[in-house]
């Protein structure tokens, strides 16, 4: 790779972000713990009857992962904004959307992927039927990148604000509604013995669309909030 070229810049950014995550690897467990605790709260609130838990297990796991992802979103740009490297990214001659796509990718790898690995275990805690487990993991594999991409656009709008947590939730959660409906809908359909392919395909279509559009929107939003 030629030094100074766009691929080299992306590779350097990927290496830097992964190194940063590795140096603070303890932080990576926080979303996992959060999701585990949220899931553990539901039997305490609703009662331990396996029948009832089995019925709502997929939905609870989905919502718990969505909330964990929402809390993790805040770290996407925060440290980069604080040490000024985010402004350097905006000023760099390489396409900002591409660089941001790299950042979002690393963020998804380090926060969402461990959650997906944990998801079958969470399902087991709630007596999720075995045949739904596969659909749940596939739905999450399609849905969590969408959550990261859409969330990144909203994070870019609130970057630099103090105490943006509640506001970020207000901006992001309405946009998450369709993803939740299709993702949890696929699991519920599988649990009822119905075909679950259609909602998964819709999720995949939305993911393709978001992969193209969201980095561009994220770049535009970042330029607005760092102007």
């Amino acid at each position: 790779m030629t030094p100074g070229s766009t691929p080299a810049a992306c590779a350097a950014l990927l290496r830097r972000d992964l190194t940063l995550v590795w140096r603070r690897r303890g932080d990576a467990f926080n979303p996992l713990l959060f999701a585990l605790i949220v899931v553990a709260l539901f039997p305490l609130a609703l009662g331990p009857e396996p029948e009832q838990l089995r019925r709502i297990a997929a939905g609870i796991v989905f919502v718990a992962l969505l909330l964990a992802g929402l809390l993790a979103l805040d770290t996407l740009f925060r440290s980069d904004y604080e040490d000024g490297s985010l402004e350097q990214l905006v000023l760099s001659p390489h396409p900002l959307s591409l660089l941001l796509a790299c950042k979002i990718g690393v963020h998804w790898l380090t926060t969402a992927l461990p959650l997906i690995v944990l998801a079958p275990l969470l399902g087991e805690l709630l007596h999720l039927p075995g045949e739904v487990r596969g659909v749940l993991v596939v739905a999450l594999l399609l849905a969590t990148p969408l959550l990261s991409l859409i969330g990144a656009v909203c994070v870019a709008l609130t970057v630099g604000m103090h105490r943006s947590g509640m506001l970020l939730a207000l901006l992001v959660l309405p946009l998450y509604v369709p993803i939740l409906i299709f993702g949890a809908g696929a699991c519920n359909a599988a649990q009822a013995g119905l075909p679950s392919l259609a909602p998964l395909l819709w999720l995949a279509a939305a993911l393709v669309l978001a992969l193209v559009l969201a980095p561009l929107a994220c770049a535009a939003a970042l330029r607005i909030s760092i102007s």
Binding site: V153, C154, L157, T158, M161, S164, L167, L170, L171, L173, P174, L175, V177, P178, I181, F182, G185, W202, A206, A217, A220, A221, I224, S225, S227
Partner: protein, 253 residues
């Protein structure tokens, strides 16, 4: 320069807009109020009872126009946000932000009147039906735009960020509508159609359409009012604002 273009550019300048909006404002409120009262009289007194729903259906004359307005206001906000982001027109930023709270109010009225209507007809205040849910999501989108606008210190940057969010929302809105439709539907289908015959009696249609017209005119009146105030705040230190303040101060003495 072309006359139309010149007029357009003049309209975009804050002092001209401020003056013109001041002239239009009483007319918007006046006509909106009169038409609204006529439509209410037509709907509550003149229109016949429904054979199935009795008199309870009459809330339609508030519920349906406000529900239409909740979508219209969002479209108006998003169109202005688009103009503001592409051509950096200050006035469009102000119009977009001014329409957000009004649209949110219409959405809230539509939700509340819908709940009041749902209690006698469906036997429940709220149900997780497709249309109700997407209207609720619409309210959250409005609140997000208002919240983001309020959270940023710099007024113009706030307007641009909130406008961008409104645009993201309008891409998402059809998807939300479609997905919740797929998810669950109880709400009755559309009874008023632009194309083809409506499934509603003519004596019920005219108050409904008149009320829709009245709410539109009232909406523009409210937008102009809010935009005038926002302009004064934004341009606080400029000469024309000082002149306006001096003139109105002199008028009051």
């Amino acid at each position: 320069m072309n006359i139309l273009l010149l007029w357009f550019h003049k309209l975009g300048s804050p002092p001209t807009f401020y003056r013109l909006a001041g002239l239009l404002l009483p007319w918007c409120y006046g006509i909106g109020l009169v038409l609204g009262l006529v439509a209410l009289y037509g709907g509550l007194v003149l229109a016949p009872r429904d054979y199935q729903q009795g008199d309870a259906y009459r809330i339609i004359f508030v519920h349906v126009p406000t529900a239409w307005m909740s979508l219209f206001a969002y479209a108006f906000m998003a169109a202005n946000a688009f103009i503001a982001l592409v051509w950096h027109i200050k006035l469009s930023e102000i119009l977009a932000i001014a329409s957000a709270p009004i649209g949110a109010a219409f959405t809230l009225i539509a939700l509340v009147t819908g709940a009041l209507w749902g209690k006698p007809m469906w036997g429940t205040w709220w149900t997780w039906d497709a249309r109700l849910t997407s209207e609720l999501v619409l309210l959250f989108l409005y609140l997000g735009v208002i919240g983001l606008n309020a959270a940023i210190e710099d007024r113009r940057q706030a307007a641009r960020a909130a406008g961008f969010l409104a645009l993201v929302g309008i891409v998402n809105l059809p998807i939300v509508h479609f997905s919740v439709n797929w998810w669950n539907t109880l709400h009755q289908g559309s009874t008023v159609r632009l194309m083809g015959p409506s499934k509603i009696d003519a004596a019920m249609v005219w108050p409904l359409l008149l009320m829709a017209l009245a709410t539109h005119i009232w909406f523009f009146g409210s937008v102009l009012m809010r935009a005038r105030i926002a302009l004064l705040q934004l341009e606080g230190g400029k000469d024309w604002v000082r002149r306006v303040a001096l003139d109105e101060g002199a008028g009051n003495d």
